[in-house]
Symmetry: C2
Subunit: 138 residues, 2 copies
DNA sequence: CCGAATCCTCAGCGATACTG
DNA sequence: CAGTATCGCTGAGGATTCGG
């Protein structure tokens, strides 16, 4: 996530950091959470399998993000005490329910990506880059 | 956003970083974008007004995030060349259309926040904190 | 095979100061 | 009022290594 705790604590602003949406975005706004949830839509998977499914993820972040999801009750973790330990991860009901709003976002993304990209091109090719910096993007 | 460009470039993974959803999440996953969009649901506003509406935001991040949104074509920026310069920000059509999926997320957040918090409590009160670290949260 | 611990880099973001 | 430029801190997160 981005930071989450450095908040100076506000008072009466209508867009405070403690609104549920903000909270959830802090939770799923990181690089990997959504990808893991997406990977688990295909069914439960073991640690290594998840690593392969997502591939760009490091072992550390996979573990860390899975722990977060488990803590939130969105993902279940089942240890099979076999000889080489086997661990299965799966979406819980709550985790599965995330699919709805996430799909909405996904559809928006698909529907608007072209337009957004075009707008970016347009913006970047404008002729008033105030000298010094090419500081587009966040 | 989180990083977005350090990607090692993958090849055949089904959850590549270049999927539209991932892209959009990188865009709106930062600390302020969603808050600004939310603040503009109430109608257009000037720079200072936005600062007041959001309040926790620094001048730098407000400018930076607004630039990003403008670049993406989600927010329009209108300069009124009056004596003290006046600048109005407003959502574009595309920006407004974000309200739908964002509301879906919001509703999910509201519906599940309690459950998630409870799960966290539960998780944290488990009796196997492997010593050293209290490393919950992302 | 699953994961924890350590190290280190780099970029998000706030604070501050300066322009038009 | 509406920015832009610079500096410094902090923490996300990749690489690597060790344990069960």
């Amino acid at each position: 996530m981005v930071t989450t705790q450095g908040e100076p604590v506000l008072h009466g602003s209508p867009y405070r950091a403690d609104c549920p949406t903000r909270h959830i975005l802090d939770r799923i706004g990181d690089r990997w959470t959504v990808l893991i949830v997406g990977a688990l839509w295909d069914g439960s998977a073991r640690f290594s399998e998840l690593r392969r499914r997502i591939e760009g993820i490091s072992q550390k972040m996979l573990t860390q993000t899975l722990r977060g999801l488990e803590r939130d009750g969105l993902v279940s973790r089942t240890v099979h005490p076999e000889v080489p330990v086997r661990v299965e991860y799966a979406l819980t009901e709550a985790g599965s329910s995330l699919r709805e709003p996430l799909s909405a976002l996904q559809e928006w993304a698909i529907a608007h990506l072209g337009q957004v990209s075009a707008s970016q091109e347009d913006y970047d090719h404008a002729d008033q880059p105030p000298a010094t910096s090419t500081n587009h993007d966040t």
